[in-house]
Amino acid sequence: MCDTDTTERRPVIRVVDLVKRFGGRAVLNGINLEVHPGETIVIMGGSGCGKSTLLRHMVASLFGDEGRVELLGQNLNDLNESGLNALRLRFGILFQSGALFNSMTVGENVALPLREHTGLDEQTIDIMVKIKLEQVGLREAADLMPSEISGGMKKRAGLARAISLDPEILFYDEPSAGLDPVTSAEIDQLIMDLSGKLGVTSVVVTHEMDSAFTIADRMAMLDMGRMLKIGPRSEFEALRDGPETGDETGDLIRQFLRGDPEGPITARRLSTGYEEDILATAGE
């Protein structure tokens, strides 16, 4: 399933038989995934498929009921809080909203991790903040407050903050959501630059297919807490552009990739016991 040129290197992230239940329902049901150094992997799936939950396990904000996640060679289940905090300095997260502190300027937001986690002097931190903001094309906005900038700029500012400590891994949660096409393409380019030029490993959770097919080296498709398919982008392109085959998994992925209104996903939704459900409600 994996492409051949990355399988020989030691994975940066390993998800092994991961199970997570909420209220008895398995939101992640035996997930296996390996992410290799320097690659960009895009995790896709419809709303509620478990992709954001999987991301939260990979960044150590949730822990599974079964299985494990290994990050940079360390099993997250084995680490105490200080071990986790040390590991957290080695990856960055771009949250959907940018997650900026509204009481601080853009520059102060970017400086925050540097002030909190390094012993660097203020002048060096100021230089680093300028470098990071220039990298995302936002140097002129350093003194603005988050409320004074657009959604796209917030996202770029969030990215500048996520890369402030030169992380080895970057996690992106829906990086293009709510952005216009040009800004979205700019974010895609930034993701590709960080990975291509600096070798940062990237994990991107998205359901924006244009973006996914632009940035991905490999893709992973989640559905109802299960991993349907992991493979190089070319395999998913072939699936998207190929004819229906009658194979349910393939057709389901194809419907998702194409955004077709009809197919196995919608058929499943239509056949989930509406009659019994509504009659049971009326009978109570």
Partner: protein, 118 residues
């Protein structure tokens, strides 16, 4: 934590008048070593060189704190009218300069010889 190794391995004055100084940096210049790096870079300036060449061919990795140290050096040498030249950047380190667009701010040379000759 173990003591921090200085990334600047060697400082050599290349002419009898001591106008040109060559600094050889090695290894990884990251958050742990950038302060030592910075200090070592600024030290020779007290002897008022005309040209300073920093040989980075032995630097396998440099993060943005290392780059920031070089920016700080650049601002000092501009004030003191010292000609700063960075030489021998490996592709990986050069990428850091490119992605931060600092390749347009610094004078970069393929190797020390070029930095001396041009």
């Amino acid at each position: 934590m173990a003591e921090v190794e200085n990334p600047v391995r060697n400082v050599r004055w290349l002419d009898p008048e001591k106008k040109i100084v060559l600094l050889e940096a090695v290894g990884e210049v990251d958050l742990h070593r950038s302060s030592a790096f910075q200090k070592a870079l600024l030290e020779p300036l007290s002897r008022r060189p005309q040209r300073m060449i920093v040989d980075l061919s032995g630097v396998s990795y440099m993060d943005s704190s290392g780059v920031a140290s070089l920016v700080k050096l650049l601002s000092r040498v501009r004030r003191d009218n010292v000609d700063l030249r960075l030489a021998g950047l490996t592709p990986r380190v050069r990428s850091v300069f490119e992605i931060t667009r600092l390749d347009t701010v610094f004078n970069l040379y393929p190797d020390v010889q070029e930095a001396l000759d041009s």
